[in-house]
Symmetry: C2
Subunit: 417 residues, 2 copies
């Protein structure tokens, strides 16, 4: 076991240094969050990292995509030229048609005209912020929430306020209370296999949130990258279907196909998509046309459904491997989630525990995770942490948790010393 | 010849309609510019469009890229998995090393650490605005300037001010005068085969601009997508090499390889790249890893230099075909540029002519171009237009200019009537 470099832990970096000419106010004191640093640790084979929401690379359908790129880059018909030429800002028509069909299964009525292709669903957040958020606008989020969403909202200089959640997700009464007090322009939710908690919002709560959006007139942004990765229980329809004039639905092929393609999408009311089209044109013109063409080809060949079923088997086995050991690993009084899909387990250690202290003991033992801190928009619960099971085979999960047991013992021993 | 739909002309669209919940102030009255509408017209085979800076699709090395994607998506080693997995925010290391070597030929000393991969060079403008520009900051641009740059600066709510240019580009004395009066935070230039004029800034002027950046402490952003597409005359080194602590150099593979890959880059001081890394993470995490891997493979195979030489031959022939007809096509008193590279000819018609009126007469005759209006940050010269020769073979250029001659005659006839 090699001791990782101190600067590659999953903690925040210090504020970046200013160069010569002046920078914008919005980046003053901006901090780098965990994702990049997680990737740095991932580069070290010796560290078993339960950090990032990193898909299982060994489960990628590499040959399926080699074939798809081969097919769309045919030099003998016009398809190769089209895939390499400038394309439509809102994305490839064939791909948008296939996505419209796919979101229909999540309970959202859409045609290709309602679908807008983005450079990963992260870019949908960028476009939504540019289109909807002025400095000082209130955004309500779950407590805890997706860290790179929070980072984008910080860049928007929004006033981000967290709303209490329980094991089923956001509490609609608490949300209504916050809406009345703070008049949000936007509410951001990951209702299905939430990041970081893994929890899924029940149907009645989805309907309640949708009614609030319509009643109070805010945007509800439903981020759903994990919705198809259900390995247990019955699907719950997307929230967006219940408030079509107020909802923006985001999802991505990053978790079902591969993140390196950087293709996601949003489904939103036409007025918002009209603005998004102008905004995206000035941001990156359009998303990689060749990646879109390859995905459209793969979908048309009917290969994704079987692949997603396979992924669900892979992730179920991994979640079960992790879950089986948590009861004996975690200290008395700890709580953790048992997700029915997605990639994440959320752990709340008993009062007095500090996740950062545990991480400091974990890294020298060759295991890492993300402390909960960057997932909180405002008040932080220092005793929380996120474990992802997606990126390691069951045996390696067991080995990583054994190492983590050593870290728990070391912290307890140190506290006693 | 089919008459194009009225909504697909290269003129600005009306302000977009607002949807249910509120939008941000920055998008109020936002207008769509020419690029998207150009693409709509391109879809019509009947219209010969001299509009967008669209590369020659028939010159793409489709089979070279089919081979490159095939190679990087090898299912038998780890490369395919790596190309499909999350990657570094700042881009693939092998690609950045190859880019560093390449910008060295343009006179910029750089290592991989100085290179930051972006989703097309348009995204570099997005990142620079997010990192450097607050609402109301002054940005100086050439008169005329790149329209999608102006569009991004408008989204930044910057105060964009144009500086007079002559046939050699921006006048350093006029620039210094504007700098003293307006204290810009940033000066944006396309010094080589400028968009829209095709002009190239001489070396002495580059040095003078660099000295001003250092003296007055502004960012100078050098957008250089066409620099390698020189088909005549001697190369002029990049401006950025003369003010390395103040310059941001942007370029792209869109014009040398293919725009559909959406891979560009910037070279900038470390402090700015540190901020860009945090900002890009919240915007699209990173640029398509598989597209980066394919380009890195293509560069490592040594295939780009020969391809660029081929492209230069193609574009020289097209520029010559266009140039040969302009003297007889254009009315007495018109001025036009004779670029030594890139894609664009800029036309100034004699006083009293309106480019929009000419376009209205051109489209029913099956030919189109971009009126100069969207290239002006402030005061507009209505008698200007941009012609691109990049996307049509010489015969089609001649046919398009013959149709345009009909439009000129119709406008003259109409004015006489």
């Amino acid at each position: 076991v090699v001791i990782a470099r101190a600067d590659s832990t999953a903690v925040r970096l210090p504020p970046v240094a200013a160069p010569g000419p002046a920078l914008a106010r919005r980046v003053e004191g901006l901090e780098s969050t965990a994702i990049r640093n997680i990737l740095a640790l991932l580069a070290s084979e010796e560290v078993i990292h339960f950090g990032g929401g990193i898909p299982a690379a060994e489960a990628f359908d590499v040959s399926g995509f080699r074939d798809a790129f081969q097919a769309v880059l045919d030099p003998h018909d016009g398809s190769g030229r089209r895939a390499l030429q400038y394309g439509l800002v809102e994305g490839d028509v064939a791909l948008r048609e296939a996505i419209a069909e796919r979101v229909g299964r999540r309970g959202i009525e859409a045609t290709a005209a309602d679908v807008f292709v983005t450079s990963g669903s992260q870019q949908a957040l960028d476009l939504i912020c540019a289109a909807c958020i002025d400095e000082g606008d209130v955004i309500l989020v779950e407590r805890p929430s997706y860290l790179a969403g929070l980072q984008r909202f910080a860049l928007a200089q929004a006033d981000v306020v967290s709303v209490p959640c329980d094991e089923e997700g956001i509490d609609p009464d608490a949300l209504e209370d916050a809406v009345r007090r703070r008049s949000p322009k936007l509410v951001y939710l990951v209702p299905t296999f939430q990041n970081p908690t893994g929890s899924t919002l029940p149907l009645e709560r989805r309907r309640a949130v949708a009614r609030l959006a319509e009643r109070y007139g805010f945007w509800v942004v439903e981020d759903d990258p994990y919705g198809e990765l259900r390995f247990r229980g019955d699907p719950v329809p997307a929230l967006s279907g219940y408030a079509p004039a107020h909802a923006v639905y985001l999802s991505s092929f990053s978790k079902t196909i591969a993140p390196g393609l950087r293709v996601g999408w949003m489904v939103a009311p036409a007025g918002l998509l009209d603005v998004a089209r102008v905004v995206k044109q000035s941001k990156d013109i359009h998303t990689s046309a060749v990646a879109q063409a390859a995905i459209a080809h793969y979908l048309a060949a009917g290969r994704l459904d079987g692949h997603v079923r396979y992924l669900c088997d892979v992730y179920r086995e991994r979640q079960e491997a992790m879950s089986a050991l948590l009861a004996e690993l975690l200290p008395d009084g700890a709580r953790w989630t048992e997700p029915d899909g997605g990639m994440f387990v959320w752990v709340e250690l008993p009062e007095g525990w500090m996740a950062q202290q545990l991480l400091d003991a974990a890294i020298p033992r060759g295991v890492a995770f993300v402390p909960g801190q960057p997932f909180f928009a405002d008040t932080v619960s220092e005793e929380t942490l996120r474990l992802s099971y997606s990126n390691h085979a069951p045996g390696r999960i067991r080995e990583g948790l054994a190492r983590l047991a050593g870290a728990f013992e070391a912290v307890v021993g140190g506290a006693r010393a």
